[in-house]
């Protein structure tokens, strides 16, 4: 299962973190720091997968932002999760229109909601963008009322 999904920028600043298994604030900080350092140390030509602290890590970089997924070691298909990251980015892009780091920062709760729709209990539940965004649009309307 997916244990966590992170968005961390090149400076090592976390922009979004969602954990599916509870870690304390301290543990999260250490883990995120280590992970971004590992990701940064890897070149473009190296593969996007690694193992860290008993997690299988899959990461993908968009401009200055790293999307990082941590999974159980026995999870089988790394490529599927690599593409899932891309699907997530496309979904964010569809919602925010040309998504950038600041969009996620100013609308952090929305980014969380989108993620919540796509992953439940550490498993991919929805990859259909229309389905993912439907409840988010409902929330937007509710706010306007």
């Amino acid at each position: 299962m997916i244990n966590f999904i992170l968005m961390v920028n090149k400076q090592g600043q976390t922009r979004l973190a969602q954990y599916f298994q509870f870690l304390s604030v301290k543990e999260r900080m250490t883990l995120e720091g280590e992970l971004i350092r590992k990701c940064l140390s890897r070149s473009e030509t190296q593969c996007s997968f690694l193992e860290h602290r008993g997690y299988k890590i899959i990461y993908r970089r968009y401009a200055s932002l790293y999307f990082i997924i941590g999974m159980d070691l026995e999870e089988e298909n790394e490529m599927a999760y690599l593409e899932f990251i891309h699907n997530l980015v496309e979904t964010l892009d569809k919602y925010f229109e040309n998504v950038c780091e600041l969009d996620i920062m100013f609308n952090i709760e929305k980014a969380h909601y989108i993620l919540e729709e796509m992953v439940m209990n550490g498993q991919i539940v929805e990859t259909n963008k229309t389905q993912v965004l439907a409840p988010i649009h409902v929330l937007d309307k509710a706010k306007d009322e």
């Binding site: 997968f49 600041l102 439940m120 539940v125």
Partner: protein, 973 residues
């Protein structure tokens, strides 16, 4: 949208300043200030909802950036009660981000969640389900089960989808919340849902159940899953589910994972899968996008996970080649992993890619390297093991990643145990391994190693003992890490003291070396205990002279602050006194007939006691040695539980003497009527071995090194002399068959050479099956016992190493004829009966020949000298079951045969000349024994009216199963 204009200026500025920071320190400063501001703001009363919302968003930032905002947690809980949908969701989100599932605050949420789950507003229900999915915990799972289950039939698809996922969590938390049948019914309704997204969620639930092992239960659903996959690949789902015009790839992957688990080791289920798998693979392979590769990869895994089919394997191998030939490391990674899967079915496909593999091995990409090592591990066999282990040790030396090193350490020791070509090589490799991986030596590793050493010592005898004592005493001259020193001490104490039992010079030398170590820099006190124990063992040797020194040392450590050390020192000091005293009384004469008791016996007989009846003793002893009969064991244990075959000889020798001379008094233990049974040349005068036994038992009794060691030690010390001598008579030592290959020139970095070393053996084994003789250190099998009673099929004792070997069997270049066990879920039996798997039976033998470069087994005439005859075994069903359990050489096949009735089946059994034990409907069990060596053959058969014949043959000797199978194929298929 990135303006953030919807936010208040305060929050906007905060986020902006966080975004602009360039260092962690700057960021921390901002956040610390923010925490203080927020704390004061919290005191304001009647905050407008928008402010509360922003306050929580600030708290999200504070916690995300590593600071504590627990003072806001309660506000998050309050917000969940808001009437505004957006605020409610934010409240739930914050709770799930901030709170641990064990948090007491969660109790406050239960009522709100219950209310929201029952709401008539769909959106509120959706929010609540999302929150339940993240927050539910064991403590209140019961309170929420009912409302969630109700929502499974809700008329909105998103509610049904989320409810399904929450139901999965509920079951994970507490099995008893939902009855199994109920759960099954509900997920079945899930996959039948008309909405693909609900169906997709249900796949997750099935996948999890299957992973937990409930495979048989869901096999009937195979058809459903197959047709779903078919619909998906044929673009039957709405376009929204497409990803880059690829139809619902994640659903395809999930389905493939499910099908892999369903079809594993099951031909019937796999046959349903082949077609759809083939077309899924073809369609995915046609694309050049990542998601296509992901599906292709999953297909390859499925092909190698289910019952293998030749054309699919070829197709999969082609896809794998594409991955490996790519320049993209991600694809190479997939390729290497896929190859690792395929290798477990056939090593043939590795050959083509040897250069790529060597490249990956030297890649600068750690991840890729690691996966390649995994592949190497799987393909190691006796021929390439030296090169591969060398390579692995090189990685162990150079790597800095401790997880990786640990993994390597375990792998190298397994490979070494399994494939080491010679004893010498084994020991040397083990020492190098310990040197570079000393941090991974724990009690298990040590005990395992000691056990191997002592087993080999017992089996091979003094030759091996001298050899390892020399190696380790040499090591003792260097500086050693504590972990290695412990091992050295053990070897010197345990084996050295036995080998040089009568050689005062050697003993002195060893003792000196060990004593010197006490003065070296030691990391821990426990090492001192090991050294003391070693000295204690040395001083129990007969020729030991340095009692003054050892006594002085023990005396010194009697003051030690370490309790273990102190206790040992006291014990050993006492023993030293004993041992020294015994030196003076070395020539005790032993009266084996115990004539000093004669007077007493006489007296008792006069009083009317019965005369001793030796036949009773014989009976008990005979029962004891008859391990082949499932009965209680009255005699000394003769199975090789702890030592080598030593104990075995012990028992049998005794039996022999009693049988031959029933009138002689029998005494248990190493004594027979010729005195202490010691044959070691030159025969020393009978002496008492007890002090040695005491020494070692006490010594190891409090030893922290674990139980195995203790047992081994006690046995080997107590009867060490005996074992040593009797074993020389029937030594099982096979001198190293294969000379070491010329050493690799370190400067010659030519990849081709390495590739040849790594892979040539595989190509060799493709052509000529290797002899089955094992040279590995563990592969010392117990001498085979022959049973002359034709009615009791003989059972060989289970090999000690069976488990270890099974794990690695994949790499064994066994002649294909002998591959009978399904290994790691990849059955290999299909080699012999491909006519079932391939759709065109006529072409098969030829195809098979190409595929395996092996003469097809079934067309081979059975050579004259191989003809075996069998005799029926008269056993009952219970005995049959017991025997079945004991033998693990099970050969399972399904054949297309001429056998369509019980008569046919009986005729077949008569031909083999074994007998039928029981018939239940179409299932028949039979038993017999090889007429020549009486090894047992058990057969289970199930015939079908359409001629399909399922056979399981369980034989002590795998060759019997082979033979019978060939016979059946020739005459009845």
């Amino acid at each position: 949208m990135s303006s953030g204009s919807h936010l208040s200026k305060e929050l906007h500025d905060l986020i902006k300043s966080i975004g602009e920071t360039r260092s962690k320190q700057e960021e921390d400063k901002i956040i610390i200030k923010e925490v203080q501001q927020l704390k004061t703001k919290l005191n304001e009363k009647n905050m407008p909802p928008k402010k509360v919302k922003e306050m929580l968003i600030r708290a999200i930032y504070i916690e995300m950036l590593g600071h504590d905002a627990s003072f806001v947690h309660i506000n998050a809980i309050h917000l969940t009660q808001s009437k505004n949908l957006a605020l409610k969701r934010l409240g739930y989100l914050c709770c799930s981000l901030f709170l641990d599932n064990d948090s007491e605050l969660l109790i406050l949420l239960v009522a709100t969640l219950q209310k929201d789950l029952a709401s008539t507003n769909v959106h509120i229900v959706v929010n609540a389900l999302t929150a339940v999915g993240k927050l539910i915990s064991k403590t209140f799972v019961n309170a929420l089960t009912e409302p969630v289950l109700k929502l499974l039939t809700h008329n909105t698809d998103i509610v049904r989808k989320k409810a399904l996922m929450v139901m999965q969590i509920i079951r994970q938390l507490n099995q008893d919340c939902i009855a199994e049948q109920d759960y099954d019914d509900r997920i079945r309704r899930g996959i039948q849902d008309k909405e693909p997204s609900v169906m997709g969620a249900a796949f997750n639930l099935y996948h999890e159940e299957l992973k937990k092992g409930a495979v048989n239960k869901y096999k009937p659903l195979t058809g459903t899953f197959v047709s779903m996959l078919k619909q998906i690949i044929e673009h039957k789902l709405h376009k929204d589910y497409d990803y880059h015009r690829f139809p619902a790839p994640w659903l395809q992957i999930k389905l493939l994972q499910i099908l892999t688990l369903l079809g594993a080791n099951d031909l019937k289920v796999s046959e349903q899968i082949y077609e759809v798998l083939g077309s899924t693979l073809r369609r995915a392979d046609d694309t050049t996008i990542n998601i296509g590769y992901a599906v292709t990869y999953q297909c390859v895994k499925c092909v190698s996970g289910i019952y293998p089919q030749q054309s699919l394997l070829e197709q999969a191998a082609n896809s794998v080649s594409r991955f490996l030939k790519s320049d993209n490391n991600n694809l190479k990674y997939l390729g290497i992993n896929a190859l690792t899967q395929i290798v477990s079915i056939s090593q043939k496909y590795v050959l083509e890619h040897q250069m790529t593999i060597v490249d990956c091995l030297e890649s600068n990409d750690d991840t890729l390297k690691k996966e390649t090592l995994e592949l190497l591990f799987k393909m190691t066999n006796e021929q390439n093991c030296e090169v591969i282990i060398q390579k692995l040790i090189h990685f162990l030396k150079t790597s800095s990643d401790s997880n990786f090193k640990k993994d390597l350490f375990v792998k190298i020791s397994l490979l070494n145990e399994k494939h080491a070509p010679t004893q010498e090589w084994f020991i040397k490799t083990a020492n190098t391994l310990f040197e570079f991986g000393s941090e991974f030596i724990d009690n298990d590793v040590r005990n395992n190693f000691f056990k191997l050493l002592i087993d080999n010592f017992n089996d091979i005898g003094s030759e091996f003992g001298v050899f390892i004592t020399e190696i380790y005493s040499e090591l003792l001259r260097n500086d050693l890490q504590d972990n290695i020193l412990k091992i050295v001490c053990w070897v010197i104490g345990e084996i050295g003291s036995q080998i040089y039992d009568q050689d005062p010079n050697k003993l002195n030398e060893l003792t000196q070396l060990v004593i010197l170590k006490l003065d070296s820099q030691l990391e821990s006190e426990t090492t001192i205990s090991w050294i003391l124990t070693c000295l204690a063992k040395l001083q129990s040797a007969r020729a030991f002279q340095m009692f003054d020194q050892t006594r002085a040392i023990f005396q010194k450590y009697m003051q030690s602050k370490n309790l273990d050390c102190q206790q040992r020192a006291i014990d050993f000091y006492t023993l030293a006194k004993f041992n020294a005293a015994l030196k003076g009384s070395q020539f005790i004469t032993v009266d084996p007939k115990m004539s000093f008791l004669d007077a007493y016996v006489q007296q008792e007989r006069l009083r009317g006691a019965q005369a001793y009846n030796p036949s009773l003793q014989v009976k008990a002893a005979a029962l004891g040695s008859a391990t082949e009969a499932p009965s209680l064991n009255f005699g000394p244990y003769s199975d090789n539980k702890y030592g080598g075959s030593k104990t075995n000889t012990f028992g049998t020798e005794e039996n022999k003497s009693t049988t031959q001379n029933p009138s002689a008094p029998t005494i248990a233990g190493p004594w027979d009527d010729t005195g202490y049974n010691q044959k070691q040349p030159p025969p020393p005068k009978p002496t008492i071995a007890t002090p040695m036994a005491i020494g070692s038992t006490t010594g190891m009794g409090s030893n922290g090194s674990g139980q195995t060691t203790t047992k081994t030690t006690m046995q080997s010390m107590g009867s060490g002399q005996m074992g040593l001598s009797s074993n020389q008579a029937q030594s099982t030592y096979v001198p190293p068959v294969r000379p070491l290959p010329p050493k690799e020139d370190p400067n010659l970095k030519e990849k081709q050479k390495l590739a040849n070393q790594l892979f040539a053996p595989i190509s060799q084994t493709q052509q000529q099956p290797q002899s089955t003789q094992k040279k590995g250190i563990t592969a010392v099998a117990a001498p085979k016992q022959m049973n002359t009673n034709p009615n009791i099929p003989q059972i060989t004792q289970p090999k000690q190493t069976a488990q270890v070997q099974n794990l690695l069997e994949i790499d064994e270049p066994l002649p294909i004829k002998q591959q009978q066990q399904p290994i790691l879920g990849a059955p290999q039996v299909y080699v012999q009966q491909p006519q079932i798997i391939t759709q065109k039976p006529v072409v098969v033998p030829q195809q098979q020949q190409q595929l395996w470069s092996q003469p097809p087994v079934q067309t081979q005439p059975i050579p004259q000298q191989q003809i075996k005859s069998y005799i029926p075994a008269n056993i009952n069903v219970d005995q049959y079951e017991q025997l079945w359990e004991r033998n693990q050489n099970i050969k399972e096949v399904t054949l297309q045969s001429k056998i369509k009735s019980e008569q046919d089946f009986r005729r077949m059994i008569q031909t083999i000349n074994i007998n039928i034990i029981e018939v239940i409907d179409q299932e028949i069990i039979c038993a017999g024994a090889n007429a020549e060596n009486k090894s047992c053959v058990l057969l289970y058969g199930c015939y079908n009216l359409n001629g399909s014949l399922e056979l399981k043959i369980n034989s002590t000797d795998p060759k019997d199963a082979e033979y019978i199978l060939a016979l059946i194929k020739r005459q009845f298929c």
